[in-house]
Symmetry: C4
Subunit: 306 residues, 4 copies
């Protein structure tokens, strides 16, 4: 009977890379934003306010998404990361709409589910009518607090915040930085996201990810909780600031480091610095690695079918 | 004389894998839950409330248990993890009762020892008669706080909480995710447990592990501290929610990632993508690895007998 | 001239292992306890109380000491660790007095220096006369807070606390636990020390390390700050509890895991499970590793003499 | 068109190592100090005070800078680190002015940008006239709090603080300490910086980095915010204490560990301990490693030009 179940399930198998990337960005973004939304609600309604706890939850959400997506979509789980990598040809432009669709749909689903999970507490503490945009909305949207800010400041703030995050992503995915263990990058991203949320938590509420803010506003609008759009922070902080920041961060790294490395590599390829038959050695190593990975996958599947 | 002592001790040696797994799940669960229970008591009676400190202690407890059990039982230390892995044939069904026994007995022992250690503070602050179910019990059981919740919400909450935890376990133990250092997985689990405790701390008190909640209620019942069962959260949050969540999380990963990989591996096995004699290479590598591990174990034992 | 300076310095070189171990335990313990003492003072006088910050500082101090001592003394920096390892023949008994001397002298020096650094704040807030044993002493000694405790409880508490720490040390230094990167163990110890300080912070003040408590009491006694000894917690919590806990923790691991591995290794050594000429391969690998290490050391020294 | 853009950009390429080091120290220091300054402002104006959050942000900033600079400048991002390494010939003296220039210019730019980002909150809460040196200045400068301190104490405090940091840097960059994964060192530095900021946060405000304090005072002086210099803490805490501490920490490690290793290495070089043709093996390994790095860099560039 289990055999039959597995045969039924095998109909869902696909080898279409774009479809797999869509699913993985959707699920990864869903997990990231469910974690953040529930952490924000927990430290608003359930426990004393703890910005560090929220930032840590977000960092771990990114960590899970990055390891989850590693070999298929790379786990961007944020449209601005996808866009910035595309401007540097590190993600093909034709994949960008697929990634965006997965990320925004995942973000929308995460908002709905988190709202359902926190509904009783929301109703008990703040009620629903009309208050969603002010208090309740802050659970799911990215918006400034009560400190004085203007739109120029939140754009600058998010350019710095997302710029440093994107710069660090470039640093950590660059295999030439001696950060050589494949498992180090996801942990590095965990800490970097914590840090930028901590450092830029006040001006623009650490907007960072449009796939969290925009779907939450859309959902609030759909269930009739009032005006979600007129504060324009969805445009300045969550959209202009984050996209601009990601591009600035990515290109800063490209111009300060990557561009200077090109000729050196060409020299190496010409064999001027190495006497071994490098191509041959490299090919052997690649095959060995692929073999080990394949065996691992096979073994875990074989166990499944036993 | 020491020689004699070692000869005496060697009578306790066993090569029975199930017995070893029982012992390791028992000790691992004991350590995990002693750490959590004493942390909860510390931040209830001794220090200002600190949800982050409790979550960190739990994460580290899981880390210790996972490294401790790595080569024998894999260190599940939670019945829902064992069950979910069994539904995907990643843990044999015949081991499940053995794991459960170890986990629940370890959890019960941890409750008793933690109660003994915190007894004076419990008596001084809240007394024992009748108050155990409300205040004292919150030290050792998983239960909702004062915020409004219903049984549907705590089930949804625990499906999300344990679902994300179990999904992340699947991600991190899958050798194909480029997370290639064996020491990375235990650290990843440390952070993931912190995150789900932080994010889902309010609705159901981050129930997550039935081996903590159920033995604590049984112990309270045994020492006559009042009604432990009528709130039914032991059934909805700690049992239905956690088991359901673990299965949902594990299967989400299986259906979004693992299932799509099967044919690719078969292709690799047929040699279509690799020219080297891979089987031979793989065998050599495996033997080499086994040798190094064996030598290590032997060396530490040899030192012991010097 | 620099040449002359280096020649002068080279007179301090020694190849005496015990002397090197003494120095390294002394410096490592000094750093660990300076960090803890100043963190405790900072979160008593300078910043709001933050138990998590103190625990983190201690964890990082242990991390530094362990990497620092890795190849010479293994960086125990705590007499109870040295003692427990000796009972399992993982540290030679003849080294024990040398380690103890380094640890207690390092702890005493750390107390004196930390007292000097925090002197102005101590005088301003609590004065010196007579108050050292109550308020001031809590900066440098390990003592229970105001919650009700008795000597039986603090011994149980420290057996659990140090027992889990020592058990985790055994788990993490055992090369057979698949925790295969040499850099993982120090990070693991960092988190484990944080966790046991958090979980056992209230009953006995996380005594853990006699090289912190006893020298601080001796120093308070020497500078005439009143009675340091009559509360007897230095004996029950800091000495009996910690030594007993370390031995219990270490032997629990030995009896649950290590002892069962012995025959397996013998089987492997007899070649029954491996066809390769393992001894030869192993020898080659060891030499290769030694070479790489030697080259690294040589290179950094060569750079120094340029 | 993209081709043309890349050709234009390629004019900025340089192979001048000192120029590259200047840029990398500038950008690395900028990121480190933008993170710290905005975190301090966030936990002063926007969120409840959280020393742990500030320390974590600083630790992650150092982590990013160290991985970023790894292969070009090593990411010192602090003049006292550069200076102390130079005294041990681990950084050439001729590079020191270049590093200093990058660090101080990066620090100045970070102050200006952070001030712009936090300007509205600063004006709203404390106003600008005359108050910058007291309240506002504490956002960007390193200065003692209200606790009683004198100049001798802040110097001792910073010698301990920076001494332990620099000692740990020496420990972690020494390839002989069995801390063998290249990705472990940046994570280690992340935690070490957190710990010294936590432990030494009160006496001298964890001055540590003159590239943060001095440019901030210069900027406050330039925009006319009053007297920045007469408290003399810029000289005692931020300059004398930090430079002295870095030298003491670096030389403590050299004298306790490195110096004793010299002869052993010479013995190894003479072949007395190894039978293999080590030089040959080593050369092969080096070439293999260089090849893999080069291939990686090439591959990422090739993708860029596709």
């Amino acid at each position: 009977m289990a055999q039959i179940a597995y045969q039924f399930l095998s109909k869902f198998k696909t080898k279409n890379l774009l479809y797999q990337q869509f699913i993985i960005e959707l699920v990864g973004t869903f997990i990231l934003i469910v974690l953040i939304d529930n952490a924000v609600a927990t430290y608003t309604f359930g426990h004393p306010s703890d910005h560090f706890a929220i930032a840590t939850t977000a960092g771990v959400g990114l960590y899970i998404a990055v390891v989850f997506g590693a070999t298929v979509s790379a786990g961007h789980v944020n449209p601005v990361v996808t866009f910035a990598l595309a401007t540097l040809r590190k993600c093909p432009w034709k994949s960008v709409p697929v990634y965006f669709a997965g990320q925004f749909i995942g973000g929308f689903a995460a908002t709905v589910v988190s709202f359902a999970n926190q509904r009783l507490a929301i109703v008990a503490r703040s009620g629903l009518n009309g208050t969603f945009p002010s208090k309740t909305a802050s659970l799911f949207m990215s918006n400034p607090g009560i400190r004085p800010v203007d739109h120029e400041t939140v754009i600058l703030d998010q350019v710095l915040c997302v710029g440093i995050l994107m710069f660090a992503i470039m640093v950590l995915i660059d295999g030439s930085n001696n950060h050589n263990s494949k498992s180090a990058t996801p942990f590095g991203l965990l800490f970097v996201l914590i840090a930028v949320i901590l450092a830029f938590g006040s001006n623009a509420g650490a907007a960072i990810n449009p796939a969290r803010d925009l779907p939450a506003r859309l959902f609030g609008f759909m269930i009739g909780l009032g005006d979600m759009w007129s504060d324009m922070f969805w445009l300045t902080a969550s959209t202009i600031g984050t996209f601009l920041g990601a591009v600035v961060g990515a290109w800063t790294y490209y111009l300060t480091v990557e561009i200077h490395r090109i000729n050196d590599n060409a020299d190496l390829r010409n064999g001027s610095a190495n006497d071994l038959n490098l191509t041959e050695l490299r090919t052997t190593l690649d095959k060995l690695e692929a073999l080990v990975d394949a065996e691992k996958g096979l073994k875990s599947h074989t166990k499944l079918l036993d």
